[in-house]
């Protein structure tokens, strides 16, 4: 399994590849460029910000989409749809709720999962909301604390070992549910339940402690 990328703030120091003693740069998601929020500039229709956004997030979007969409041509279409969503929904982005990376990741997942549903001929299920309906600003303090990498990693570490293992198999190794069943020998229902309840538990941990919607959902 891939090792975790440890977040280290700039106050920490390391011996870098060159032997120089330097502060580590934050490896988590960033929120601004040049002192101004990149997505705010995108929302204003600034082409240079969009170009920067594409350069910065196309690999992430492609990576996420490819997990769900195997066909290369279809995956490219989904990536393009994701960025169209991003241009449309940038004005609703709220940096106090999600990092750029999380926001872009959310849009990519939505598009990819919707595509998968359509491909699996399950038209009855309502599609996930379009990106332009996304409004983080309206979520207020109940939504989520900012998902910096360190916070996510700490929350994951608190999950029960058996749940954490399935999360890593699914999100890190990219295993499908049947593959996890084959790998772990667990029944499909158990895998699904652990993933679902684990997700809820993580959500609860990532929510601000003072949020009125912070139920402690037991993990089983």
């Amino acid at each position: 399994m891939r090792s975790w990328v440890f977040f280290v703030g700039i106050r920490d120091r390391q011996i870098s590849n060159t032997g120089l003693n330097l502060p580590l740069f934050v490896s988590g998601a960033e929120t601004d460029i040049g002192g101004r929020d990149l997505l705010a500039l995108v929302a204003q229709g600034k082409e240079s910000a969009m170009d920067r956004c594409i350069k910065e997030y196309a690999p992430l979007v492609w990576s996420i989409v490819r997990r769900y969409v195997q066909n290369t041509s279809s995956a490219e279409d989904v990536v393009q749809e994701t960025f169209i969503d991003l241009w449309r929904s940038a004005k609703r982005y709220d940096s106090s709720i999600a990092t750029h990376t999380t926001f872009v990741g959310l849009l990519a997942r939505r598009r990819a999962i919707d595509h998968t549903r359509k491909e699996s001929r399950r038209p009855r299920l309502e599609p996930m909301p379009e990106g332009d309906s996304l409004n983080l600003a309206s979520e207020g303090p109940n939504a989520l604390m900012k998902c910096e990498r360190e916070v996510v990693r700490q929350a994951l570490a608190k999950l029960p070992e058996e749940t954490r293992e399935i999360f890593i198999l699914h999100f890190d190794q990219g295993m499908t549910h049947p593959e996890i069943v084959e790998w772990t020998g667990l029944p499909l229902g158990t895998v699904k339940t652990r993933l679902r309840r684990g997700l809820i538990e993580l959500r609860n941990q990532l929510r601000p402690a003072n949020s009125p919607s912070n139920p402690q959902t037991p993990n089983s």
Partner: protein, 268 residues
């Protein structure tokens, strides 16, 4: 079922919806419960899944399909309100424009001509005696502007660069003035870079700002010998720089450096 049991069941199904693993029966159940006013989808669940998804992606190793970036750039056409201007370049980073120019073989001659014109122009207008505090005129060469800064700045910071690893042979220094928000790097024996492959990027470590180093701009080294003076392009106000770090990054630079190749550092 009690209200709480209904809400909990919906929440679990909603997590399944977000994870994309609902079976047909569960889809029916989710749809029915979704119509119940007691049941509300929680965006935070989806944000959690997205944060996890992003956390595990190693985007450094991702190779995009050929042409995808160009297609994505074309896709912005309907949403662009403002084309890049000098102001926007300074705010967002002027590198994309440079990258576009440098990647265009047909305009290579134009770049050479531009530099030639600037070189000729600077010989006529660079007069240190006329310099005033503040950012230097674009008609003054970085070398001259640096000298002026050193001569005039009352709060001048000078720090030598120390190369590391493959760059131990380099030398140089950085000069900086908080008051004037102006600074220059003088770099010697830094290897010439191919802007289409890699570019140098400066980072300014200012603990008074926040934990993230400030992007000091990307630059290229075009001379194999001699000293190159590079102006520092700080988009944010620098109050108390503690270090200046040069990394080697992808063309156009990066927003957050992973310090994979640290070229040199200067501690003030």
């Amino acid at each position: 079922m009690t209200d709480q049991e209904i809400i909990s069941r919906f929440e679990e199904l909603d997590a399944g919806r977000i994870l994309g693993d609902l079976d047909t029966g569960e889809m029916d159940e989710w749809e029915e419960l979704a119509r119940d006013p007691r049941c509300q989808s929680d965006l935070a669940l989806e944000l959690t899944a997205a944060a996890l998804e992003a956390e595990f992606q190693d985007t450094n190793k991702i190779e995009l399909p050929p042409g995808l970036l160009e297609e994505l750039e074309k896709g912005t056409a309907d949403f662009v309100v403002e084309k890049p201007s000098k102001k926007v370049e300074e705010t967002v980073g002027e590198i994309p424009l440079w990258r576009k120019i440098l990647s265009d073989k047909d305009t290579a001659w134009a770049i050479a001509a531009l530099f030639a014109i600037l070189f000729v122009a600077q010989t006529f207008v660079s007069d240190p005696s006329t310099s005033t505090p503040g950012p230097p005129s674009t008609q003054v060469s970085p070398e001259e502007a640096s000298k002026t800064l050193v001569a005039e700045a009352k709060d001048l910071i000078r720090a030598p660069f120390e190369g590391g690893g493959d760059y131990k042979g380099m030398s140089g220094e950085v000069v900086w003035s908080d008051e004037r928000q102006e600074g220059y790097m003088s770099l010697t024996n830094l290897p010439v870079n191919d802007p289409k492959s890699k570019q140098y990027q400066l980072w300014i470590v200012d603990p008074t700002r926040d934990e993230k180093p400030v992007d000091g701009g990307v630059f290229d080294i075009g001379l194999a010998e001699g000293t190159t003076v590079i102006p520092i392009r700080n988009p944010l106000v620098i109050r108390d720089p503690k270090a200046f770090v040069i990394t080697l990054e992808q063309p156009g630079g990066v927003v957050v450096s992973k310090q994979e190749i640290v070229v040199a550092a200067a501690n003030s």
